[in-house]
Amino acid sequence: MIEREKLLEECQPVLRENDLSSDYFQGRVRGVRDTLPKILADNFRENPAGLSMRKKDLGIWSGYTWAQVYEKVKSMALGLKSLGLERGDKVCVIGDNDPQWYWAELAVQSMGGVVVGLYIDAMPGDVEYLLTHSDSSFVFAKDQEQADKFLEVREKVPRVKRVVYWDRKGMAGYRKDPWLLELDDLIHLGQSYEFRHPKVFEEEVEAGGANDPAVLCYTSGTTSLPKGAMISHAYLIKGTIRWAAVNLPQAGDEYLSFVPPAWIAEQLLIASWLVFRTRVNFPEEPETVMENIREIGPQMVLLAPMQWQGLLSMVQMKIFDTGPVRKLLYRACLPVGYKIAEYRLKGRRSLPLLWRILYGLANGLCLYHIRDSLGLSKIRFGITGGSALGPDVFRWFLAIGVGIKDSYGLTEINPVTVHGRKIKPGTSGPPVPGVQVKVSEEGEIFLRSDVLFQGYYKNPEATGSMMVDGWVKTGDCGTLDEDGHLIIYDRMKDMLRLKGGGRYSPTYIENRLKFSPYIKDAMIIGGEEREFLFGIVIIDFDNVGKWAEKTRLSYTTFVDLSQKEEVYNLVEKDVLRVNATLPDHAKVRRFTLLHKEFDPDEGELTKTRKLRRGFLEKRYEELIQASFSGREKIVTEAEVKYRDGRQGKVKTDLKIRTVETGR
C-alpha cells in the first residue's frame, strides 16, 4: 500500500520551504499507483503520445512515446512468459544504459519478476556468483562482450533458460546457439503469445502489489561477497516521491541516464521517470556523454563525484591549452564567480550593485559559456552521491553558476538526505521527509524510515546485523550540524588513529589530493603502529603527459613518466597544498608515485571504483614498509593481470619522496 495522503502530509514542510510551485508534484502523488508497471500503464493511457525516452542511434536522436514504450514492455513481458517466466523469478540485466535496459526491467516486473542489475564491468566469476546466488532464470545482456561472459560460465548456471541480447553487433557467429535469443525475436514471441492469450499482460500487471520485490540490488562489496538487498515497489515509489518533494521535477524535464541502473540511485530515477513523467535521454556511447549532454541540455543530472571532478579537470586542462585572451578572461571572471558563490552560501543577502554588475559581465563573458559548453546551461539541479564530493569541486561549480546538491543514502534505505534550496558545502543536506536520523555516542549514524529494504536475499544474518531495534546501522561516522544537515566523515571502521593517537580520515585526504588535475587516485596509509602518513599517488597520465609536453620533458610510458624527478616535484606541490589544510599530525610526510593505475580488474578497486584498502596494503606491503623505514627507493615487481586473462610481471624502480616539513 502507498499511503498517498500521509506521504503528502510529511512532505508539506519541505514543500512550503521551496519557492517552486508544487501543484504538479501533488497532483502526480495523488494519482500514483502501487507498482512501476501499473504506473507505466497509466502513463500510456493518459498520455500515449507524450515523448518518454530518447536514444541517440546512428548519429540521430530517436524518441519513444509512452505508447511505444508500453508496447515494447508488453511484448517483451509476454515473450518471457511464453518462455516460462513465473512470478517471483529473478532476471539478470547487464549492459550500458539503453532504452532496452529500462524495458527489460519493466517487462520483468510486469510479470511479477525481480530484476537483478549487474555492473557492465563484472567479470565472468562475478557473473557466475550473482547468477547462482540470485537463482536467475533469464538474462538480458547487451552485446557480444556481455554475452561472452555468460557463455563462459554456461555449464555452471543450469537454471538460466535463455540469454536475450539487444545489440546484434558481432553476434553473427552465435545465431545458431538456441541458448541465445535476439530481443526482436523475443518481441515476436510475445506478440504471437498475446494473439493467443489476450489480456494476460493486463491481468499480470494488476496482480502485482506494492510489497512485491521489484529489484535485487547487490552491494558492491567493499568488505565481503556482494549481498543482494531486496527492494520493493513501495520502496522505489515512496523513495522517489520523498526525494522529489525536495527537488520538484516537472513534466518533461530532461534527464540524462548515465549512472549504472544496477545502482539504487538510478533505480530511484527510473521510478521518478515513471511517476513524474520526466524524459530520459540515453547517450550514444559512454564515451560520447560529454557531447550528448550538451545536445540534451538536461534539467537534472546525477553524476558520481568522480565524474563531476572529471568535468572540472577537463575545463582546467582546456584552459591550460587555450590562447592568452581566453586564459585571461577565465582568470579574471572566475574570482568574481567565487565571490558571488560565497555570498550565496552565506545566505540571501542582496548583492552590492558593483558586484552585481561585475557578475553580469563575468557571466556574459565567461561563466555562461563554460556552463553552456558543459551542457549545464538549463540545469536546475545537479546531484551527486555515493561518496564525498571535494569542497573545491563544489565551490568551482557554484562559481560558474551550477549548484551541486549532495545526497546520502544506502542501498538498504534511500534516500536519506539531500540538499534543498539551501546548499551547504561539506554536508550531505538535511534528512528528506519521513526519515529519522540518530547519531550514536561513538558517532555512528542510525536511520529509520519506512522506505526500507526487505532484507538481504538468502542472508538473514546479514539483515539482522544491519538492523538494531528498527534502526538501520549505517556503519558511517558522522554528525548533524546546527542546521540539521548531515555531515559524513567516513566509514566507522575507516576513521583511523596514528601511533600518537591523532585521528585522521584517509578518504578525506585522498579526496583533497585528487582535486589536483595531475592526480588521478591516491591512497593514504597510516595506522596505529605508524608515526606518520604515507601516500601512494597515481598520476593522471593524460594531464601529466600534457604538462610534460609543455615543459619539454620526454617520456615513453606511464612507468617512465611516473618516476621522473620533475613529476615528483610537480606532485609534491599538490601534497604541500593539501598539507596546509591539515592538522600537523595528519600531514602526508612521504609519498610515492606508483608505476601503474589502480585497476578494478586486478581487484584493487571495487566496481564503483572505491579503494580496496586491505587488498592494496597487502599487495604493496614491501613498498609501504620501505617507506616507513626511511628508504629512498625500492625495486618492485608487480604481478599484472592483462585483460585477456594472461599474467605477467613488471619490474621497476619506485622512488619515495619525503615532503618538506618546514613551514
Binding site: L58, G170, R643
Partner: protein
C-alpha cells in the same frame, strides 16, 4: 574449407620488373570466396607490389594474368577495378587529414552516388538529398560497427594513429566491397588496438562474408586470422597452405630466420 572453395581471384604467372630489379617472378595464387588469405614474407618480398598489381597501380609483365570474377584486371584502370568491388586499406595512412571522420567515410560511398552537379544544385528538391541520406545511413552503421562515434565529427588529422587506421578501414568498408585488400592494417598499433582491429576483421568476414587478402607482419595476427597463407620471398612464392602447415614449413622458417641454404640465396 569446402564451402569456400570457389575462387574469386586467380593470379597466374605474375612477373614485375623495375629496370633490372625483378620484384615479382612468376607468382600465382587463388583467393577463394569468403576466405581470409594472408600474404606474408620478409621486407621487400613483393607483397605490396602484388597488391598494386591487383589494384592496377602496376602493370605486370606480359604473360601475367589476374582474373577477378572472370574479368581480366591487368590493363584495367584503377577506378574501374574499384568499381568491380575491390577495396583497399593502405599501408601507412592515406586518409584525408583535413576532413572529418564522417566525411572520410562518405568518400568511400562516392562510387555509389549517382546524382550529378545539377541535382546537387537543387539539393532539397532532387534525388541528391534522398541518395545522400541512404549513404549516410550506411556510413553511420559503419561508425557504430567500428565504435568511432566519439570521433565522428573530429578532423582525422588530429586523431591518434590507431584511430586513423580505423577510419581508413572504415572507408574501405563504406565501399561495401566484395574483395578487401588489407595492406598491414595493424602496423604501428599497440596490443589493444590490434586486438580491436582483429575483432573487426573477423566480424566483417563472419557477417558480410567479405573475401580478404591480408598483408601483415605480425605473425600472431596472421596465424589467428588467416584461413590460408601464401609466403613470398624475393618475389617468388615459396609456400602456400593453412597456418598450421606454414608454421611447420622448413623453407618458410629459413626464409624468415635467414639461415644458410635458404631459397633467398
Amino acid at each position: 574449407m569446402e564451402e569456400k572453395s570457389k575462387a574469386v581471384l586467380t593470379a597466374s604467372n605474375i612477373s614485375l620488373r623495375f629496370g633490372g630489379v625483378k620484384a615479382l617472378a612468376e607468382v600465382g595464387f587463388q583467393v577463394c570466396q569468403g576466405e581470409i588469405l594472408a600474404l606474408i614474407g620478409p621486407n621487400g618480398a613483393g607483397k605490396t607490389c602484388l597488391l598494386n598489381c591487383i589494384n592496377g597501380f602496376y602493370l605486370p609483365d606480359p604473360g601475367g594474368s589476374i582474373l577477378y570474377q572472370g574479368a581480366q584486371l591487368c590493363g584495367m584502370k584503377t577506378y574501374d577495378i574499384a568499381r568491380l568491388g575491390i577495396a583497399r586499406v593502405f599501408q601507412g595512412i592515406q586518409t584525408y587529414a583535413g576532413m572529418t571522420t564522417l566525411d572520410n567515410l562518405m568518400t568511400g560511398r562516392t562510387m555509389g552516388m549517382k546524382y550529378g552537379i545539377l541535382d546537387s544544385l537543387f539539393y532539397f528538391w532532387s534525388r541528391a538529398r534522398k541518395e545522400e541520406m541512404a549513404h549516410r545511413r550506411r556510413v553511420e552503421e559503419i561508425i557504430d560497427f567500428l565504435e568511432i562515434e566519439p570521433i565522428r565529427k573530429k578532423y582525422v588529422g588530429e586523431l591518434a594513429y590507431g584511430l586513423r587506421k580505423r577510419v581508413d578501414f572504415g572507408r574501405a568498408l563504406a565501399m561495401d566491397p566484395d574483395l578487401l585488400l588489407l595492406d598491414e592494417p595493424m602496423a604501428g598499433m599497440n596490443l589493444e588496438e590490434k586486438e580491436d582491429m582483429a575483432r573487426f576483421i573477423l566480424d566483417v568476414s563472419e557477417e558480410k562474408r567479405t573475401t580478404m587478402l591480408l598483408v601483415e607482419h605480425d605473425m600472431g595476427v596472421v596465424m589467428d586470422l588467416a584461413d590460408r597463407i601464401v609466403v613470398l620471398d624475393f618475389g617468388r612464392k615459396i609456400a602456400e597452405g593453412t597456418p598450421a602447415e606454414i608454421s611447420r614449413n622448413p623453407v618458410v622458417i629459413s626464409a624468415y630466420l635467414g639461415e644458410e641454404g635458404g631459397p633467398g640465396k
